[in-house]
C-alpha cells in the first residue's frame, strides 16, 4: 500500500525556464527503505524538499495517502506527517539536545504527557545519554548531532522519515550506527524511510534504489 505517491512531478525554480525535475513518478510504501541516488545536480535534493513539504511542485502531484500536498496544510504535514533528517543536522544550536526534541513534540501537538521523559527515551534509543542530552547542540560532535536529528525526526512518530545525506558528515562507525537505526525504523517499526545519498553503503541497506539523472528517474532497482 503506497503511503506517498509522485505523479509526473516537475519543478523549476522561480525565474528560470529549465525544469530541474522532469515528470518524476514513483510510489513509496510503509516498512521499506528507499535510496535515491544520482550525481550532484541530478535533482535528488529538490525532490526531497518537495516530498518534505518545504516547497511545491510546478507540475504533477505528490499524494500523501490520497491528499495532494498542494492542497493540504503543509505546516501541519511537516509537523505531524513526516520527519526530516538533514545532512547539516539543522538543529536549534543555542538550545540543548533535549529541548530540540521537546520543541518538535510541542510543535506537532504531541499528546505525550511527560514530553521530557519521552524525549530522553528517544535520545537514548539513538545512543544519546542523559548527560549529553542536556548539553547545548553546539557542544556535541557531528555524530551526536545527527543522532539528535534522527531523534527529532521521530519525536512526533511520523509515518515517513526523509533523510538527506544523513551520513555525509559522519565517520564510518557512526555511519553504521545511523544506518542501523534508519533500517530498524523501516523494518521493525513499519516506517517509510526515504534516503537521498551518494553513498553505496547507504544504498546497500535500501529495499529499493531509485536512480536519478538530469531531473528524471532513470532506474528503480531492488536493493540488498
Amino acid at each position: 500500500m503506497s503511503i506517498l505517491t509522485l505523479n509526473n512531478v516537475s519543478y523549476r525554480y522561480d525565474g528560470t525556464k529549465k525544469n530541474v525535475l522532469k515528470g518524476v513518478s514513483a510510489s513509496f510504501e510503509a516498512g521499506k527503505v528507499y535510496a535515491i541516488v544520482g550525481k550532484s545536480g541530478s535533482g535528488k535534493s529538490t525532490l526531497l524538499s518537495l516530498i518534505a513539504g518545504l516547497d511545491v511542485c510546478t507540475d504533477g502531484k505528490i499524494l500523501y495517502g490520497e491528499k495532494d500536498l498542494k492542497e493540504i496544510d503543509r505546516d501541519s504535514y511537516r509537523a505531524k506527517g513526516i520527519g526530516v533528517v538533514f545532512q547539516a543536522f539543522n538543529l536549534i544550536t543555542n538550545s540543548t539536545a533535549i529541548d530540540n526534541i521537546v520543541l518538535s513534540m510541542q510543535i506537532s501537538g504531541s499528546n505525550e504527557r511527560d514530553k521530557k521523559s519521552f524525549a530522553y527515551g528517544l535520545l537514548e534509543r539513538v545512543g544519546i545519554d542523559k548527560e549529553t542530552a542536556d548539553r547545548k547542540v553546539l557542544k556535541l560532535s557531528g555524530g551526536e548531532q545527527q543522532r539528535v536529528g534522527i531523534a527529532r525526526a521521530l519525536a512526533h512518530n511520523p509515518n515517513i522519515i526523509i533523510a538527506d545525506e544523513p551520513t555525509g558528515n559522519l565517520d564510518t562507525d557512526t555511519e553504521n550506527d545511523v544506518l542501523k537505526i534508519l533500517s530498524s525504523l523501516a523494518h521493525d517499526e513499519g516506517k517509510c524511510v526515504i534516503i537521498v545519498t551518494h553513498s553505496k553503503k547507504v544504498s546497500s541497506i535500501a529495499d529499493e534504489v531509485l536512480g536519478m539523472k538530469d531531473g528524471k528517474l532513470t532506474s528503480v532497482n531492488q536493493g540488498k
Partner: protein, 448 residues
C-alpha cells in the same frame, strides 16, 4: 503555551543580543519616565495656576489710534468705557473670573488724612480738593499679604468700611464708629449747584498696611494708609475699575470680539497680561518644552535604532526561524514567539526604567527649573526695566514657581506602559515582517 515558554528560554539563550536591545529600550523608557513625570506634573501645576488666577486682560486707550481716528473724523473727545459696559464685559463664558471695583476721591470735615497739613480748600479743579480715596471691592492687598486686618471684620454690607491703623489712631476712630465722608465735585459743577455725595460709614475693621506708597506727588490721596476700603455698592455712581481674567491666553481674540460687540470703542486695545503669567509659570513651561522635545528626539531616534537592531537580530536568527518553519511551526506562531520575546525584554526594562527614572526625575527637574528661572528672570528684568509706574512692577510681587514635586501618577504609568508596548510592537513588527521573506527551503539551502 509552549510559544511563551520557548520565548522566555530564548530571552536567556540570546542574552548578549538581548542585553544590547534591553539597554536601548531601558534608555528610552527611563528618559520617557523622566519626561512624562515632569510634563504631567508641569501640566497640572499650570492648570492649577490658570484655574486659580486666570490670565488678566488689560483694556488700554491707544493714543495713536485715537489721534489717527480723530484726524479722520471717526473719534470725538471724551470717549470712555461706561460703568454699564464694564459690568457687561464681565458677563462672558471666556472668563475664569472678573473683579468689578470702583473708586472715588473723597474728603472729610471730621477725619483728617495722614499728611494733611491745612484746612480743606479748593484745588486741582475741585470745589474742595480730595484728601483720601475710597475703594470698593479692592481686596487684592489682603490676598497678597500687603494688608492685614488687625481689628474687627471686613465689610460685607453697604456703608461698611475698614480703615488703616494710622488713620484710626490719628482721628481716634474705633471699630463701630461712624464717619462722614464726601465725594468730590468739580468747581463748574459746584457753581451750577451740584453738591457732593455724602457717605455715612460704619467702621467695621482696622487694617495694618504694608503696601508701599509710590509717587505721592505731594498728594495725601496717594498715601496708601489713607485708603478707605468698602464694598462696591457703597459708591454706586463711582468710576468702575474692572479686572477680567481669561480661562486661557488663547481666548483673547474671542474675548476682544465680544467686547467690540458690546460697544468697546476701537481706540481701546485689549491685551492679556501674559508677562505676569509667563513670569510665574514660564520657567515650568520652558522646562516642560525642553523635556518634551528631548523625549520626542529620544523616542524617534530610539525607535529607529531599535527597529534596525531588531531587524539585524532577526537576520542573525533566520537559520533558527528556518529550522522552526521546517519543523512545521506556523509563521504566526514564530512571529508571536518573537513578539513575546520583545515584550518580555521590554517589561523587564520597563520595571528598571520606571525605578531609575523615578529616582533621577526630581533632581533633573530641579536643575532644569533653576536654569529656566534664571532665563525667565533675565527676560523679566529687561521687560520691566523703567515700567514700574505703569503698574506692571507688581509682577515682582508674584513669586514664580521655584520647585515642583514630581509624582508618578497612574496616568503617567499608563502612558509609559503604552509607549513601551508601542516600542516593543514596532520593533517586533519590523522583525516579524522579515520573517515572511524567510521561506524555510531557501534558508536551509543557503545554510547547506
Amino acid at each position: 503555551m509552549y510559544i511563551i515558554q520557548n520565548a522566555l528560554k530564548n530571552v536567556v539563550r540570546n542574552k548578549g543580543r538581548n542585553i544590547l536591545l534591553g539597554s536601548i529600550i531601558f534608555a528610552i523608557i527611563a528618559t520617557t519616565v523622566v519626561a512624562l513625570m515632569i510634563t504631567n506634573t508641569s501640566d497640572r501645576i499650570i492648570d492649577e495656576y490658570r484655574g486659580q488666577f486666570g490670565i488678566e486682560v488689560t483694556i488700554e486707550r491707544n493714543t495713536q489710534t485715537f489721534v489717527d481716528m480723530r484726524q479722520r473724523g471717526e473719534a470725538a473727545m471724551g470717549i470712555n468705557i461706561t460703568n454699564e459696559q464694564f459690568i457687561a464685559f464681565a458677563d462672558s463664558d471666556l472668563l475664569q473670573r472678573s473683579v468689578i471695583m470702583n473708586s472715588a476721591m473723597i474728603y472729610s470735615e471730621t477725619v483728617t488724612a495722614i499728611g494733611q497739613t491745612g484746612e480743606l480748600a479748593a484745588g486741582h479743579g475741585f470745589a474742595i480738593a480730595p484728601t483720601m480715596q475710597m475703594h470698593g471691592n479692592n481686596w487684592e492687598d489682603f490676598t497678597n499679604g500687603h494688608r492685614v486686618l488687625v481689628v474687627g471684620e471686613m465689610p460685607v454690607r453697604v456703608n461698611e468700611v475698614v480703615i488703616s491703623e494710622e488713620l484710626a489712631e490719628l482721628n481716634d476712630i474705633s471699630v463701630g464708629d461712624t464717619i462722614r465722608l464726601y465725594g468730590t465735585v468739580m468747581e463748574p459743577a459746584a457753581a451750577m449747584g451740584f453738591t457732593p455725595p455724602v457717605y455715612d460709614l460704619v467702621v467695621t475693621g482696622i487694617y495694618f498696611c504694608a503696601a508701599e506708597s509710590v509717587g505721592t506727588w505731594g498728594s495725601t490721596t496717594m498715601i496708601r494708609q489713607n485708603e478707605v476700603l468698602t464694598v462696591a455698592d457703597t459708591m454706586p455712581g463711582a468710576a468702575i475699575i474692572a479686572r477680567y481674567y481669561l480661562r486661557h491666553p488663547s481666548y483673547i481674540d474671542a474675548f476682544e470680539q465680544e467686547l467690540r460687540e458690546k460697544g468697546l470703542h476701537p481706540i481701546f486695545d485689549v491685551n492679556t497680561d501674559e508677562h505676569l503669567f509667563n513670569a510665574i509659570v514660564g520657567p515650568v513651561e520652558g522646562m516642560r518644552g525642553i523635556v518634551m522635545t528631548f523625549m520626542f528626539v529620544v523616542l524617534i531616534l530610539g525607535a529607529i535604532i531599535l527597529i534596525l537592531l531588531s531587524s539585524i537580530a532577526i537576520r542573525e536568527r533566520k537559520y533558527e526561524i528556518g529550522v522552526l518553519r521546517a519543523m512545521g511551526m506556523k509563521k504566526v506562531k514564530v512571529a508571536l514567539g518573537l513578539w513575546f520575546e520583545m515584550v518580555t525584554i521590554t517589561a523587564i526594562c520597563l520595571a528598571i526604567g520606571i525605578f531609575v527614572g523615578s529616582l533621577v526625575a526630581q533632581p533633573i527637574s530641579t536643575e532644569l527649573l533653576a536654569q529656566q528661572q534664571e532665563t525667565a528672570q533675565n527676560i523679566q528684568d529687561q521687560f520691566f526695566a523703567g515700567r514700574e509706574i505703569a503698574g506692571l512692577s507688581r509682577v515682582v510681587n508674584d513669586d514664580p514657581i521655584t520647585e515642583i514635586n514630581l509624582t508618578l501618577g497612574i496616568d503617567t504609568m499608563l502612558q509609559i506602559i503604552l509607549i513601551s508596548l508601542l516600542l516593543a510592537s514596532a520593533a517586533g513588527i519590523a522583525a516579524i515582517s522579515k520573517i515572511t521573506k524567510y521561506e524555510p527551503i531557501k534558508i536551509l539551502m543557503e545554510r547547506n
